[in-house]
């Protein structure tokens, strides 16, 4: 695996601990930036928690499907050394020169020999650790077909007849004498991403988890829902195997300090987790099931998460009850569970029957990770999470050691991805700027490329491989029927069912089949080419076929997923799609790819903290940065911030950063800079901007664009804002407290209203930052004036993560938190030089009036729609409905834009705190670095080609091309520069002489699809 032939010095590697999604992302980013990585995980296979999820919010994508490309990619990457079943025993040394002692446990299986055939498992299931555990309490036992490494592991202790076990393996891979291996690895820096465990509610008798089988944790419920789970995706009650009719979720189990042993923090992801489970459940069973969530505050503060909450309420009819149930009981002789609770505005005890109760358990650091932290000498906080830098959460107290993911603090997948990339960047920066390493031309690789089989003279010989994608395809249609159908089609030499086609073993099977049968065309029946084409193209290359001799029939997204209630129609459609692909692939021709040199300059749009961080990061790596700021000075929104919730001095931090940016020799700063035009293609963009007072126009050539344009402070005309002098935004309040402590000392009553201009019809999303802002200001006021009475009128307090500690502190200090609902909002009237705030107190069931010396409105952020709209027009980028830039994939590519070479960070992405913005900026730096590390950018082969003998030089293509690429050459026919062609195909479709073909989408290929479709239909 380790075949990089760069000159290695002992300490230019990076150790990544933890093979979950975060660790994989870190390793991939580092590897793509040409850094060597050792990725260790103590489990048998990598993947971590995410592999156990059924689907993820808010897209409800299948997780196995989204993660599997990453898993195998990590294995493929030549810069990554993957060590499974390996734990870190000790790490010594310091930044730049660590030595890690690693211990790899015996697997008793030789990875090089194991084919994952499963013979051992069928013979001795008890001692083979590959159990799709039917015990829902043990979800971690379960593995899935795309596992990496793709091999079993033997639990020798459970094996009674070792010799019999050894014999059963056809590959002779079982080695009972396997020994643990100790190894030392030198590395320059360490990224810790071992994840967190989940709270175990067994000791909480009143919730009945320990003895009531129908009380499950949210992860267990997820396993039950999952197609690859113990019940094969059938939602049943563990007690009796029947489908439940009423399911309740109880939130905040193990979080917010509510139970014995619970963390004091908010676990951040559980609300969305429960919402997702409720929605998926409703989706599947519709009216047949009732879902209820018992919650304290619904904390849907992420990008577009509020919309998800609204959908759960309005579209799916999920029921929400604001209450903390105090017990779950099962009365003698009954099968139902009885949930006892009270509502906030009554004391009357209520009871309701459910047949399943899901406990939304939060994150908790595990003993093992705590131990790891202590070995490294990391400082931990009260909740045993590492103490991190106030402005940079991936930086720990120990130099050279970085953290990411739930090990750092509780969080969801996108934030883990962002931190993982950020940590990758920080860790890589220890290695210093990329130096010109002379890479001895990889002769093997070059030779291998030459080995691509010439199939141009062969008759088409097609192999059709059809995935069942677990239940996703196979659950609805009989894959064998599809295989039989495919086998009968012309030119098809092989047709096979391939299980999870994208799993390593299936890929290997396909490759072997191609080579053995000398296939020269391949059709995959599976999921979308959008996500999987590249993967199968690689496979073809490995099988020495030109990668363009491939068609993918998207029978999952276009048949089984969308015709779930009609297996016959789905089957017929899948046959159609496969036949169309076979027809098309027969016409496919081998193609050569185009590549272009990568321009290594970076344009950063936006000179706030986010933009400056990214600029400094990449400039330190030796890249030329152009930093364009629209206003006349750097600093952005942070110029208005004084302190963070945790008390860090923002002004000093920003001031220092501005100085570093201004004095950096690799950064050119343009203030008052407005982007006005843009052209080019990935790797070589040209952007025109007008900058300075004089609006000097210049064009920048760059290969990377980072959008860090920020957001705007919202300022809705509500609650006498801008009418009364005592009504302020939270930002203004913060400034006022700092500047006028004497006046603050006079305050008797202070009121804060949350969600002003957020979570409304016009601006439906949560502004994320306001709850902690209110808490911060409330505490600051009490610091100055402990006598002041501070009222916070809120809808849901969303003090996620460790912010919860401050929320609790504020309550303890006497800040009065009162919930209001949108149908009874507070009323504000001027009263002399004060304001009178009237709100409805649901506990007292009456209106309460407070005369306030200061009214602070949590107005939050709104997208800078003018800027994002114009930039999205100029750069051709998508935006969300509320005007933020829309990333390529909300979960897996949270800072990448759909156009290669474009990245987004900070509040231009969505509202966020300063340290979150900085993390994104670091993440963006890592993502950008993966491109900047390359000298060339591959443009693929999808370009237009002219047949000069047919061309009538009519100029149609010259006029039609949106990019002005074709021209009539000296020979008198149209010529299209392959390096410039964008591959849209407009010229091909308008050419009256049919002299132009768009590669990969040739006419005969498209028409073959049409023909095959109707061949079937009419036959």
């Amino acid at each position: 695996m380790q075949n990089s032939n760069k000159t290695q010095t002992p300490n230019n590697k990076i150790l990544v601990v933890g093979g979950g999604l975060g660790g994989i992302r870190t390793a991939l980013d580092l590897a793509e930036a040409e850094k060597d990585v050792v990725l260790v995980d103590n489990d048998f296979t990598i993947g971590g928690l995410m592999t156990q999820l059924d689907r993820t919010f808010p897209t409800n994508n299948c997780d196995l499907c989204t993660i599997s490309p990453h898993l195998s990619e990590s294995n493929r990457q030549e810069h990554i050394e993957l060590m499974s079943m390996t734990s870190v025993e000790n790490i010594s040394g310091e930044k730049g020169n660590f030595t890690a002692s690693l211990r790899t446990a015996p697997r008793y299986i030789n990875l090089d020999k194991c084919t994952g055939c499963g013979e051992c498992y069928s013979a001795f299931p008890e001692c083979v650790r590959f159990t799709p555990g039917l015990d829902h309490r043990a979800p971690t036992c379960m593995r899935y077909p795309q596992a990496t490494p793709q091999a079993f592991s033997i639990d020798l202790k459970k094996c009674e007849d070792v010799q019999a076990l050894v014999k059963v393996c056809p590959a002779g891979a079982i080695n009972p004498d396997d020994m643990p291996i100790n190894r030392e690895v030198k590395c320059a820096s360490v990224v810790l991403s071992p994840g967190a465990s989940l709270f175990d509610p067994s000791h909480l008798d009143y919730l009945g988890y320990a003895n009531l089988p129908d009380v499950v944790t949210s992860l267990e419920f997820e396993r039950i829902l999952s197609a690859s789970g113990p019940t094969g995706g059938k939602l049943v009650r563990p007690s009796n195997g029947e489908q439940p009719k009423k399911v309740a979720w109880i939130q905040c189990i193990g979080s917010r300090g509510l139970q014995k042993g619970a963390g004091s923090y908010c676990s951040n992801a559980c609300c969305m987790f429960a919402l997702k489970e409720a929605i998926v459940t409703k989706e599947r069973f519709q009216e047949d099931i009732e879902t209820t969530i018992f919650y304290m505050d619904m904390r849907t503060f992420g990008k577009d998460y509020e919309l998800y909450l609204n959908r759960a309420k309005n579209e799916y009819g999920v029921r929400f009850i604001r209450s903390r149930p105090h017990s779950v009981l099962q009365p003698e002789g009954e099968t139902d569970l009885l949930l006892n609770y009270t509502l906030e505005d009554t004391t009357e005890p209520l009871q309701e029957k459910f047949d399943m109760v899901v406990l939304s358990t939060g994150f908790k650091t595990s003993e093992a990770t705590r131990e790891l932290a202590s070995k490294l000498g990391l400082e931990l906080n009260d909740n045993f999470f590492p103490v991190t830098d106030g402005f940079n959460p991936v930086v720990t107290s120990k130099k050279g050691v970085y953290v990411a993911g739930t090990f750092e603090s509780p969080k969801d997948i996108p934030e883990t991805m962002v931190q993982a990339s950020a940590a990758a960047f920080m860790a890589a920066s220890e290695l210093g700027p990329a130096t010109e390493t002379v890479v001895a031309e990889d002769e093997d690789e070059a030779a291998e490329e030459l080995l691509e089989r010439d199939v141009s003279l062969e008759e088409p010989k097609v192999g059709v491989f059809i995935c069942d994608c677990g239940e996703n395809i196979g659950g609805l249609v009989d894959v064998n029927t599809l295989v039989e159908h495919a086998a009968k089609l012309p030119y098809v030499a092989v047709a096979k069912a391939e299980g999870h086609g994208c799993s390593r073993i299936s890929m290997e099977n396909i490759r072997q089949t191609i080579e053995e049968e000398q296939l020269n065309r391949v059709v995959i029946g599976g999921c979308s080419p959008r996500t999987h084409q590249a993967k199968f193209e690689d496979l073809l290359q490995k099988a020495k076929l030109n990668k363009y001799l491939l068609e993918i029939a998207n029978i999952r997204d276009q048949a089984t997923w969308v015709h779930p209630n009609n297996p016959e129609k789905a089957t017929e459609k899948a046959k159609d799609l496969i036949q169309m692909s076979v027809g098309a692939v027969v016409k496919a021709q081998p193609l050569a790819e185009q590549s272009l040199p990568m321009n290594k300059n970076v344009l950063v749009v936006g000179g706030g903290v986010t933009g400056m961080t990214a600029a400094l990061n990449l400039a330190d790596q030796g890249f030329q940065i152009y930093l364009a700021e629209k206003s006349d000075k750097l600093g952005g929104m942070a110029n208005n911030l004084l302190k963070t919730l945790e008390g860090n001095d923002v002004q000093a931090f920003v001031g220092d950063m501005v100085d570093r940016v201004k004095n950096h020799e690799k950064i050119q700063v343009f203030t008052r800079a407005i982007i006005v035009d843009h052209s080019g293609m990935p790797g070589m963009f040209t952007t025109g901007m007008q900058s300075g007072k004089q609006m000097f126009y210049r064009q920048i050539e760059h290969g990377i664009t980072i959008l860090a344009t920020g957001a705007l402070s919202n300022r809705p005309k509500q609650y006498l804002l801008d009418e009364s002098s005592v009504v302020r935004t939270q930002l203004e309040t913060q400034r006022f407290i700092a500047d006028n402590p004497d006046q603050v000392k006079q305050w008797e009553n202070v009121v804060m209203i949350q969600c002003v201009g957020s979570r409304t019809q016009e601006n439906p999303n949560c502004s994320r930052i306001c709850c902690q802002n209110a808490v911060k200001n409330a505490l600051a006021i009490l610091d100055v004036n402990p006598e002041a009475r501070v009222f916070v009128l809120y809808r849901d307090m969303r003090t996620y993560g460790f912010q919860e500690n401050y929320y609790r502190l504020a309550r303890e200090k006497g800040v009065i938190f009162v919930r209001y609902t949108t149908d009874r909002p507070p009323v504000v009237e001027a009263e002399g030089d004060k304001v009178n705030v009237t709100y409805y107190d649901s506990i007292l069931s009456m209106n309460v009036s407070v005369t306030a010396d200061n009214l602070s409105l949590s107005t939050g952020l709104i997208a800078d729609t003018d800027s994002t709209e114009e930039l999205s027009m100029i750069f051709k980028l998508p935006r969300t409905a509320d005007g933020y830039f829309l990333e390529d994939h909300v979960k897996l590519r949270p800072v990448d834009m759909p156009v290669p070479g474009f990245f987004v960070a900070g509040t231009a992405h969505s509202p966020k705190l300063i340290r979150e913005s900085i993390t994104q900026a670091n993440a963006v730096s890592a993502r950008a670095h993966t491109m900047l590390a390359r000298d060339e950018i591959n443009l693929g082969a999808g370009i237009a080609k002219v047949d000069g003998t047919r061309c009538a030089a009519c100029l149609v293509c010259v006029r039609a091309c949106p990019f002005d690429i074709p021209f009539i050459n000296a020979e008198g026919y149209s010529e299209i520069d392959p390096a410039k062609c964008h591959g849209c195909g407009v010229c091909a479709s308008e050419c009256p002489a049919k002299a132009i073909q768009l590669m990969q989408f040739e006419d005969d290929r498209i028409l073959a699809k049409v023909e095959q479709l109707f061949e079937r239909v009419i036959a």
Partner: protein, 290 residues
């Protein structure tokens, strides 16, 4: 018809600004100018306007003149002393440049060489006088020239945001005209209707008035000018129009073109300013029907 004749005949003159490159790549300069040949009366070549160091206007002007495009060269007092200015003027004449605009110079603070020293040996009025002196065959020290140059001299009107400022600007302009400027160029006009009174006032100077038409490239640019230049008459209406447009580039071009049409019977001519988008000038002229 030469620009000078156009002025004399009271026909509508169309000028465009083309900046010299910051560097030595002159292909854009020449291409842009070629595409305008025959469509406009003359090209104005600013000289390191607003303190951005670039190739000098003299060289740019000569290059364009070689392309058969009549050139008007900017001169001003910030960067050169009277020796250099007179020398350049003589050079310009010899190399075929017949038109000079004595422009106001922006201060150094916004320059890309903000630590450079401003010369300001002469002021604009002095410079105009100096040019007139040269035309009479003498230099500023009274020495005889071996052959006198000849120029059509124009001047610029300082930007204004109030009537008072306008009056001040007019006062300054009057001095320049007395010194020998034969026409005056206004700051950019955006909303023609609302700037008519000011134009009328400017006309009282008694020399042909050439209005500046500025290409708004984007909403951000329009907003920037509206916010940072109090005198710029960018109306909310105009901002709305650009915001509504799905192709703002085209909208900006349309606005510039329409403004030229609207100015046709109101002033003696226009200068089109595109600040870097000189390649769009032909499209603006198309809209304006020129």
């Amino acid at each position: 018809m030469s620009f000078q004749k156009r002025l004399a005949s009271h026909e509508f003159a169309v000028l465009a600004e083309i900046h010299t490159p910051k560097g030595i790549n002159i292909s854009r300069l020449i291409n842009d100018a070629r595409r305008l040949k025959g469509r406009i009366d003359a090209v104005i070549v600013p000289d390191m306007e607003n303190g951005i160091m670039r190739m000098s206007a003299l060289a740019g002007g000569v290059l364009l003149q070689q392309q058969g495009v009549e050139t008007i060269m900017h001169m001003y007092c910030r960067d050169r002393n009277r020796m250099a200015l007179q020398g350049d003027a003589l050079a310009a004449h010899v190399l075929g440049i017949q038109n000079i605009i004595v422009a106001d110079s922006a201060d150094m603070s916004e320059s890309d060489h903000s630590d450079a020293q401003a010369v300001s040996d002469l002021n604009e009025t002095d410079l105009i006088k100096a040019l007139k002196t040269l035309q009479k065959g003498k230099d500023l020290s009274g020495f005889d020239l071996d052959g006198a140059p000849d120029f059509t001299i124009g001047c610029t009107l300082a930007p204004f945001s109030s009537d008072q400022e306008l009056n001040q600007a007019l006062e300054q302009a009057r001095a320049k005209i007395e010194a020998g400027a034969r026409y005056i160029i206004t700051p950019p006009v955006f909303d023609i209707a609302s700037c008519l009174p000011a134009l009328e006032k400017i006309k009282t100077l008694g020399v042909p008035v050439i209005a500046t038409v500025f290409l708004l490239k984007s909403l951000a640019i329009a907003q920037y000018i509206a916010n940072s230049e109090p005198g710029a008459n960018i109306t909310d209406e105009l901002i709305r129009r650009i915001r509504k447009s799905s192709d703002r580039e085209q909208e900006g071009i349309a606005i510039a073109g329409e403004n030229i049409i609207a100015l046709k019977d109101k002033v003696q001519g226009v200068v089109i300013q595109t600040l870097g988008w000189e390649h769009k000038l032909p499209e603006i002229l198309d809209v304006a029907g020129i």
